[in-house]
């Protein structure tokens, strides 16, 4: 269960601040003089999105820390004159501006498969856990140790280690074997052993386990049978794959796919995806 962190409390504070100021927004029709001088086109051209979010933002107090350029803010006040004719009968719009939090302050390691040969890993260590490491291993624990990722291939039963750095919070990793289960462990190794850090390795956290995709036609030579199921009746039947004509037919079909040496088909890039955004 996610803990409520300092940062989240800050977000909330901001949100509460916004809540309390949002009622004041109606009073802001006064900004007309400012509006006249501001240019609308350049800011709007940059992003339709931004201008809209800020359209309702009328006071400096409503700005979040992450804030937006003051030009945008000015622009928006201009908009409000023209569109606010209706405000006499309408309630004030709700002020909204969001930024994604930099971190969630939870100890976590997650792994995703980008391709059959590339893993994407992201991680974080909560302030609480950082503190407890420092309590156990000394104040300079994070300076005296370096972060590592241990990649475990649970299918072929091997693992390897990759040194990362404390400036990153995510990493892409090449892996040799597709169609295998992988799990990542985040840990730290002392740069030099000290009295307090008198171990080779300190475990921090483990990731979810994933199976990375397969990237070739399998053609398992040891396989003797294939199974068929009638999906209406559920009756399953088996066929011997070693039957010569069966193999010949299968070969003829797979010839069509123009398999490369490694039994890869040349994957067709699909130009159709997302055609409306052209």
């Amino acid at each position: 269960m996610p803990r409520k962190t300092k940062e989240q409390t800050e977000i909330e504070k901001e949100e509460n601040k916004r809540k309390s100021t949002k009622k004041a927004t109606t009073a802001n029709k006064k900004t007309t003089t400012k509006k006249a001088e501001t240019k609308k086109a350049p800011a709007k051209k940059r992003t339709t999105a931004k201008t809209k979010t800020s359209a309702t933002k009328k006071t400096a107090t409503t700005k979040t820390k992450a804030g937006k350029a003051s030009t945008t803010k000015k622009t928006t006040t201009k908009k409000s004159t023209s569109s606010k004719k209706t405000t006499t009968k309408k309630k004030p719009e709700i002020v909204e501006y969001y930024d994604l939090p930099y971190r969630y302050n939870q100890t976590i390691v997650k792994v995703l498969a980008q391709t059959p040969n590339t893993l994407f890993i992201y991680w974080d260590i909560s302030d609480k856990d950082r503190k407890s490491f420092e309590e156990q291993y000394g104040e300079n624990f994070f300076e005296k140790t370096k972060p590592v990722l241990i990649v475990r291939n649970d299918t072929l039963n091997y693992s390897f280690e990759v040194e990362i750095n404390d400036f990153a919070n995510s990493w892409y990793l090449h892996i040799a074997d597709s169609k295998c289960d992988y799990k990542i462990e985040l840990g730290r190794r002392p740069i030099k052993k000290t009295e307090k850090i008198n171990v080779d390795y300190i475990y921090v956290s483990s990731s979810n386990e994933i199976e990375v995709p397969n990237d070739k036609v399998l053609f398992n030579k040891n396989q003797k049978m294939v199974y068929f199921r009638d999906i209406k009746t559920g009756i399953q039947t088996e066929k011997e794959i070693t039957n010569i004509s069966f193999i010949r037919n299968m070969g003829k079909i797979y010839d069509i796919y123009d398999l490369g040496e490694n039994h890869n088909v040349s994957i067709l890039s699909n130009p159709s995806s997302g055609s409306m955004y052209q």
Partner: protein, 528 residues
């Protein structure tokens, strides 16, 4: 007449992300819907009707995604579409006057005036603003099979680290389908054809019979499917998977000699929105003065040249007819070959983005119409079929686990997970976990809390739309996509804390519920 030896199955995936801004008219992105209605959905409906009127027996499958259905059903967007059409009609009227001195151009101005006027007539008077009902009609008379999709096109291979978020995508997808079509869907278009075996149990739970995968979803399956993509396979969990046929895909989409590149076809990039005198075109482009596509395009592809000739409607039709003939001959040869080796008659599955037909490939809907007529009248060795019909006819199939795959560039997850958009996933994962936490903490909530919890579910689903990630990768309209992710995660997070503190801001909830008004029947308990 040749004996029928196999089947061809067209599957068109109709999808747009949910874009609804009651607070403003300034969002250019809303026009994606209007363009798709005029260039794809109405032309498809018109051509289906023509085929029915002419007594042509045909079959086609379409996935209509929940966000698209929600937008087509939205009264405000229907009104805005009518406004969009009226503006276009006004512009084409002006164009008729402006081009009076040039016979060829003037003919095209008239063509656009007639076309958009006809759209307005069809939309208002014939379809009564209800395109869902119009598509449903063709399903009801048995020529069209409509399938569903993930609730907001969330990409399963990345979401599944929290399986409940995948379950919710499926559950809401099925629920939305039932709301509009009055029955359960038999098939689902997995968003981006993103397949993970972990989703199978949920697909079964919600009654889905079949999915569509990219070619290697079948070819790299385990064990190797003996008939390649020429036959569906069934996963150990009982989900039937049809794989995209590569040969027909290449014919249509090859960058060298693919059909849409024919020199007689309409050139997409030449539009008077960019070319006409600025003061003249200003009322018809973006409110902020940015030039955009208007839909009035006067040129044909012509060749690999900057000097484009005027578009000629008849020449374009001639090319479409020629290509439909080529497609028919190619499938006949392909099926004749495959049928020697397969146990059941082979099926050639041809899945495409629906919006390619008409929007990108302007002549696409006409090509489809001609092709379907040819399949019916000409001497060929195959028939059209829907995946459901094929399953019903040939229920015996090989058991194999499809390969984890997608239809994006290079076949896996690079489009939706790369250095330009990877920062998004931790937020989506945290929000997914938090949604499950809320469902666990507050089961069977009532009143305001229930409304807030349901809205949380909507915000999470909207944030998960694969479109935002795609747009960021693609590099166009990036600011809008990033803002949408921030908005939905932001709204979700704010509500999450308000619910936990028992301090729900009713006005805020009302405001975001109006903006993000998808899935009226949603029940947050799906996350439990």
């Amino acid at each position: 007449m040749q004996e029928k030896k196999g089947y061809v199955s067209f599957v068109l995936h109709a999808h747009l992300p949910f874009i609804h801004h009651p607070e403003s008219d300034d969002y250019l992105e809303e026009s994606w819907l209007y363009e798709a209605i005029s260039e794809t959905y109405i032309p498809l409906l018109t051509n289906f009707q023509k085929l029915v009127d002419e007594g042509v027996k045909f079959r086609i499958t379409m996935s209509m995604t929940p966000p698209l259905l929600s937008m087509l059903d939205n009264k405000l967007l229907q009104k805005k579409y009518i406004k969009y059409l009226k503006k276009l009609i006004e512009l084409s009227e002006k164009e008729i006057k402006r081009t009076a001195g040039d016979e060829r151009l003037n003919k095209l101005s008239h063509y656009y005036f007639d076309r958009y006027s006809n759209d307005l007539h069809l939309f208002k008077d014939v379809y009564k603003c209800n395109l869902i009902e119009a598509f449903k009609h063709f399903q009801d008379i048995g020529v069209l099979e409509i399938i569903t999709c993930g609730a907001t096109h969330g990409y399963f291979p990345i979401l599944y680290v929290n399986e409940k978020t995948v379950k919710a995508q499926i559950a809401v997808g099925v629920q939305t389908y039932e709301r509009y079509f009055g029955r359960r869907p038999r098939g689902i278009w997995l968003p981006e054809c993103g397949y993970v075996p972990e989703a199978d149990k949920y697909l079964k739970e919600f009654g889905i019979d079949y999915i569509i995968t990219e070619s290697h979803g079948i070819l790299y399956a385990n064990p190797t499917p003996v008939y390649g993509t020429a036959a569906p396979i069934v996963s150990p969990e009982g989900v039937v998977a049809f794989g995209r046929d590569m040969e027909s895909s290449r014919q249509v989409w090859s960058s060298i000699n693919g059909y849409p590149g024919d020199f007689n076809y309409r050139e997409f990039y030449r539009d008077i929105g960019y070319e006409a005198d600025y003061d003249y075109i200003k009322p018809y482009i973006a409110h902020n003065g940015v030039r955009v596509h208007t839909g009035i395009k006067y040129h044909r592809i012509t060749g690999k040249t900057e000097f484009k000739d005027y578009y000629n409607v008849q020449w374009a039709k001639d090319s479409a007819e020629k290509q439909a003939g080529h497609f028919l001959d190619s499938r006949t040869a392909q099926i004749g070959n495959l049928a020697q080796y397969t146990q059941n008659p082979p099926i050639i599955l041809c899945p495409y983005d629906a919006e390619l037909y008409g929007h990108w490939w302007y002549e696409g809907p006409y090509w489809l119409y001609i092709l379907f007529k040819k399949v019916y009248y000409d001497d060929c060795n195959f028939e059209l079929i829907t995946p459901s019909e094929y399953i019903d006819k040939y229920p015996n199939m090989q058991v194999a686990s499809p390969c984890r795959s997608s239809w994006g560039a290079n076949g896996y997850s690079e489009v939706w997970l790369n250095p330009s958009n990877d920062y998004v996933h931790r937020h989506l994962h945290v929000a997914g976990d938090r949604m499950c936490e809320l469902a666990y903490l507050y089961p069977n909530a009532k009143g305001l809390k229930k409304k807030a919890l349901n809205q949380c579910a909507r915000e999470l689903l909207l944030a998960q739309s694969s479109d935002w990630l795609f747009i960021i990768t693609n590099g166009t309209m990036v600011d809008y996509a990033k803002k949408r992710i921030k908005d939905h995660i932001g709204r979700f997070t704010k509500l999450y804390y308000q619910i936990k503190e028992d301090n729900i801001d009713e006005e805020f909830l009302k405001d975001i519920s109006k903006k993000d008004c998808v899935f009226p029947d949603i029940d947050y308990m799906i996350y439990r």
